[in-house]
Amino acid sequence: MLEPVRASYRDDKSLAWTRVNALPDFVYFDHSIHVSKGVGCTTCHGPIAEMPLTWRAGTLYMQWCLECHREPEKYVRPKSEVFNPYYEPPKNQLELGRRLVKEYKIQSLQNCSTCHR
């Protein structure tokens, strides 16, 4: 299954991945800030570990992004769990979330210029 990756390294030819999670060009999305603030991979990308072939799990509409931006406590997880593909939000997500929002200093940014410039 990983032969294309090995071949790419061997032959020094880049792999051309087909983009699944793409935002339109008028959105300037920074991935690193989400990862470093406790937004887990599976929160936005869905159950990646169980996808034999990747599909887009979320609508990626602005409304979908705003749901989390408006209430990050519903979706944030501890930084240590960000890369855990099997993470399930605990029953006290809201309580944990509120604590993490304070601890990680998560701003619920809803300015247009956060993403659109």
Partner: protein, 1016 residues
């Protein structure tokens, strides 16, 4: 040329100058004005004032018919793509297998390099996105920059990606390969062997030690060969002046931070000449005001055409260029420098009281004053300036001297003259021209074009296949400085390495590689040549040299290479040199000067520079025959009249431009225009002053005659665009309030000390409670900007930097005439006083980012909103183009894309654009965003590092480019930030504050420092 008389009205005969003068006199000379038409309140002016975007619907359709429009729209619709709500086109992600070191896609890297102008280097930091240079900043470590840049530095990135650049080696009109060229060079070398008889190398000014060493090696190999240097903006007067004064050429280095009094003898030292970026920094540092007690510097300027430096003057006298020598001699005599005396019919118009006040001021500041001579003046003025500086004890303090920074200091006019003589004598077998465009810009009396054809074999290397390349057998595309290795000296001699940011886009070769080929060393790369030279020169060896080289590359300077100051003293009998004959009082003089935005013509094809409004006149896309109002009246000239200029049997057509502040009986025609082979952007723009310029009179000539052609020329002038109205206060009201609400606030030091709050008007400032909306408590960051009008020199570096950073489109002359130029920041010029010698002030105007923004409430689709941190945001994808926001903006800072101005098609320009800023399509409004992309990047960085943003971490493009540090950006919620401290000053005021817009961009009023003894 379409008749857009509504959008570019000219000074028509119905302007009653007498009434205008009476109006100016009545206000005690205190009224600010922007143009003659404003003062005369012509119908054309009122129309422009009330209609930001003038109605011209029928005329707009000229040239585009209905079918054409539909065709264009169809093509664009096909390109416009799908909306976000449906399936996006399939994208591929292609990662590196082995990434280049340090590149993180999305995060830019900065590399230090240097750009040379007339050989003199300014250090730069170039922002590079994934291997593509996209933005130029100044290098804070480089003495010639200290972080500032000028318009040419900023615009050079566009020249790099210019699709009109020369892309291949061309041999007699046909494409050839570099290998074929090398073979030909090999043949040429054997033909001129053994002594190199007939080999001539023509370069521009060379300060590069490594290139000079290479050329000298060639000269050693071929003893009969000669090295000539020439470029149109020669510094021969400085060279010869130094030889006259000191017996040998030296470089004068000015230390303006130490100067209390500066006298400029027609020297535009703030924007032209070696070190001008540094001089702007040093000069403006002495205008930074802490409080009423700060001691400001004082600038006297004597000049022959209005310039930035003249605008900053506390005392300015406009006189014909030929009269400056008489003035200089008169001044020198006062300091005991015996003079041959001014010629009998000298017309130095300076009143004795003024002269004596100046002399006393200089005497009072011995050792802390400086006299700076201008390049456009003859050598004697330079020599006398050196003598005066020595006599005043300035030498070693405000001016120091070093060995010449040029590698081969010569009188360049003589150098070219010698080459022309040799060519005419048939003595030139092989002529190699490294850069430069002498067929276009050599003095007209040399007739360089026809003479060039007498050289048997001609090789030219240049960025463009220009007028000179056309006449050569071989043309080699030159590598842009961002693509090549080299080195160069700054104004004080400091060496900076020029390192490439990108491999040559078009197989360009640097001068180093070309000279190596001539020397028989064709295989060596530019890097090896330059590094090899330094390996041979430096004491460090092996690992130590590696460390030294890496550090020099990293810093952009070679530490400790500033040339040491030498001690020279001038001859005592300089003044006895015979004076130049003076011009008759009514005779017309013509003055040639490098253009403020095009230079000597090499940047003609740079759209950003063509569209940048020139300082003071705010003219774009053309040069003009600048003339004073009085002279225009006397000669019955109208603004825009298309005249034939005749000097010594040569002639050129030019449009007349009435320029307040220009001296009488003189016409300025800037160099660099009227080109034939500049490229698609530059061809045919403006009028070619090189047709008139001769080797005997390169900067000024008498005997100018004008002849009417009967035609009219239309200029694209931005002074008439985006004007702010001051409603409700008729101009002739006696009340002081009528002009105290002015947009520019100026006071003298005396007035400032008496009333430190002169810029504040409590009677017009709205109370804090005056708002329909509840107050907003801003926590966290609150972005604000402070622009110090006392420091701004009007150089336009901020304008071009903003264009570069924000992917702003060039719209072309026709659209500029309709008031549709897209630059987000503009520099308004304000005059005060009479038409002959007005004071001139600059006011940079970006978006005010109003807290109560009038533009936000009127957008029907919510495309412009307010962020929590105080930014007035612009969301292009929501904008439908009603233009209501720009209608409501009192500052007129919004720009609308009437057409698809951005070039979506040219592939080379894709590389130039800043990937962090949207490239706007037609139909959307845009405006200054406080460089929100930089703000967001800093916020993300700081959040990831779990800290607050430090003051000074976010630097907007305009702030970064400004050589004078006039613009400061930061968080006003932080009382310790620089911007908060500046806004707390009493000089701080905002524009149109009675409208209660609460702008976050505020200004610090200008404080002039006139000599109390001079009452003008």
């Amino acid at each position: 040329m379409t008749d857009n008389s509504n959008s570019n009205y000219s000074m028509n005969e119905t302007i009653d100058l007498a009434a205008v003068r009476a109006k100016l006199a009545k206000d005690g000379g205190k009224r600010f004005w922007q143009s003659l038409d404003e003062l005369a309140e012509t119908p054309g002016y009122r129309y422009k004032l009330e209609n930001e975007f003038p109605e011209n619907t029928e005329k707009e359709a000229e040239g585009i018919d209905r079918r054409g429009i539909l065709k264009l729209m169809a093509a664009s619709a096909a390109m416009a793509g799908l909306s976000a709500c449906t399936k996006l086109p399939t994208e591929k992600i292609v990662p590196y297998v082995r990434p280049p070191e340090e590149i993180i896609p999305g995060k830019p890297l900065f590399y230090a390099t240097s750009m040379t102008q007339s050989g003199v280097a300014t250090g730069l930091l170039v922002e590079s996105h994934m291997g593509r240079p996209t933005k130029i900043e100044g290098n804070p470590e480089h003495p010639g920059s200290l972080g500032g840049t000028d318009v040419f530095n900023q615009a050079s990135i566009l020249t790099l990606y210019d699709p009109d650049r020369s892309q291949t080696v061309i041999h007699e009109g046909r494409i050839e390969s570099w290998a074929a060229f090398l073979t030909a060079i090999g043949n040429m070398r054997s033909q001129i062997a053994p002594r190199g008889t007939g080999l001539r190398i023509l370069t521009e000014t060379v300060t590069s030690p490594s290139l000079a060493a290479q050329i000298r090696d060639v000269l050693k190999q071929f003893p009969d060969a000669k090295w000539h240097q020439y470029e149109p903006c020669i510094r021969d007067a400085a060279h010869d002046g130094a030889v006259t004064a000191f017996g040998k050429p030296v470089t004068a280095v000015y230390h303006l931070d130490k100067a209390d009094v500066i006298v400029s003898l027609d020297a535009d030292f703030l924007t032209t000449g070696p070190g001008h970026t540094r001089y702007a920094r040093d000069f403006s540092s002495r205008r930074a005001i802490e409080g009423p007690g700060t001691k400001l510097n004082r600038l006297y300027v004597v000049e022959c055409t209005p310039t930035s430096t003249g605008s900053m003057a506390d005392h300015r006298r406009a006189m014909r260029a030929s009269e400056v020598e008489a003035f200089t001699r008169q001044l020198a005599t006062e300091f005991g420098i015996a003079s041959a005396g001014a010629p009998e019919n000298s017309t130095s118009s300076v009143p004795p009281a003024w002269m004596m006040a100046l002399v006393r001021d200089l005497e009072k500041h011995r050792g802390s004053c400086v006299v700076i001579p201008g390049e456009g003046q003859p050598a004697i003025v330079h020599a006398l300036a050196h003598a005066m500086n020595a006599s005043l004890g300035n030498a070693g303090k405000t001016v120091t001297y070093t060995e010449p920074i040029e590698a081969n200091p010569v009188n360049q006019m003589n150098s070219l003259r010698e080459l022309v003589k040799d060519m005419n004598a048939g003595a030139v077998e092989l002529l190699v021209m490294l850069g430069g465009n002498p067929v276009y810009d050599a003095p007209a009396d040399f007739e360089f074009g026809p003479t060039l054809l007498k050289a048997k074999l001609r090789v030219h290397s240049g960025l463009y296949y220009d007028e000179t390349a056309e006449l050569c057998h071989w043309h080699v595309p030159e590598a842009h400085f961002l693509e090549a290795w080299s080195d160069a000296r700054a104004y004080d001699g400091t060496i900076g390495i020029v390192q490439p940011l990108i491999a040559p886009l078009y197989q360009g070769r640097s001068a180093h590689e070309l000279v190596a080929a001539i020397a028989g060393d064709a295989g060596k790369s530019g890097h090896d040549l330059v590094q090899g030279y330094w390996k041979s020169q430096r004491p460090e060896k092996d690992k130590a040299f590696e460390a030294f080289w890496q550090k020099s590359l990293h810093d952009g300077v070679m530490a400790g290479t500033a040339l040491p100051a030498i001690s020279v003293s001038p001859r005592t009998d300089i003044g006895r040199e015979p004076a130049s004959p003076a011009l008759d009082k009514d005779a017309l003089e013509i003055v040639y000067r490098p253009d403020p935005t095009i230079g000597d013509g090499r940047y003609s094809n740079n759209g950003w520079l063509q569209e940048t409004p020139k300082t003071i006149t705010r003219l774009t896309w053309d040069n003009a025959a600048l003339v004073s109002v009085n002279t225009a009246v006397r000669l019955k000239l109208r603004h825009g009249q298309y005249m034939k200029l005749k000097v010594a049997g040569r002639e050129v057509y030019a449009g007349v431009f009435a320029d307040p502040g220009h001296p009488d009986n003189s016409i300025t025609l800037h160099l660099g225009y009227g080109r034939r082979r500049a490229g698609n952007v530059g061809n045919g723009q403006g009028f070619n002053a090189y047709f008139l310029r001769t080797s005997g009179a390169p900067w000024m000539a008498g005997g100018l005659q004008l002849e009417d052609s009967g035609k009219k020329y239309y200029f694209a002038v931005q002074q008439y665009h985006y004007m702010m109205e001051e409603d409700g206060h008729p101009a002739d009201t006696e009340s002081v309030n009528a002009f105290r609400r002015d947009l520019i606030q100026v006071a003298t030091v005396e007035e400032f000390q008496k009333d430190p709050n002169f810029a504040r008007h409590p009677e017009t400032e709205p109370g804090k409670k005056l708002s329909l909306y509840p107050g907003f408590k801003s926590e966290g960051y609150a972005w604000g900007m402070s622009i110090d009008l006392n420091r701004c020199i009007g150089c336009n570096a901020c304008v071009v930097a903003c264009v570069s950073e924000n992917n702003i489109a060039v719209v072309g002359k026709d659209q500029v005439m309709r008031g549709r130029a897209m630059q987000w920041i503009r520099i308004d010029t304000y005059f005060r006083g009479n038409l002959e010698t007005p004071e001139m002030y600059f006011e940079p105007l970006p978006c005010m980012q109003c807290e109560n923004a009038p533009c936000e409430v009127v957008c029907p689709v919510g495309a412009t909103t307010h962020s929590i941190e105080g930014l007035n945001e612009m969301t292009y994808n929501r904008c439908v183009g009603t233009r209501y926001c720009s209608n409501n903006c009192p500052y007129k800072v919004r720009r609308f894309n009437f057409f698809l101005y951005s070039d979506f098609k040219t592939p080379s320009l894709y590389g130039m654009r800043n990937p962090n800023v949207t490239v706007r399509s037609r139909g959307v409004m845009e405006k200054c965003t406080y460089c929100v992309q930089r703000i967001n990047a800093a916020k993300i960085r700081s959040e990831e590092e779990d800290r607050q943003i430090r003051d000074g971490e976010i630097v907007t493009a305009c702030q970064s480019a400004c050589p004078a540090e006039a613009i400061v950006f930061g968080s006003i919620n932080d009382p310790k930030s620089r911007v908060s401290k500046l806004k707390a000053q009493s000089r701080d005021y905002s524009l149109l504050d009675d409208l209660n817009t609460k702008p976050r961009t505020t200004y610090l009023a200008r404080v002039r420092n006139p000599n109390p003894e001079i009452r003008e």
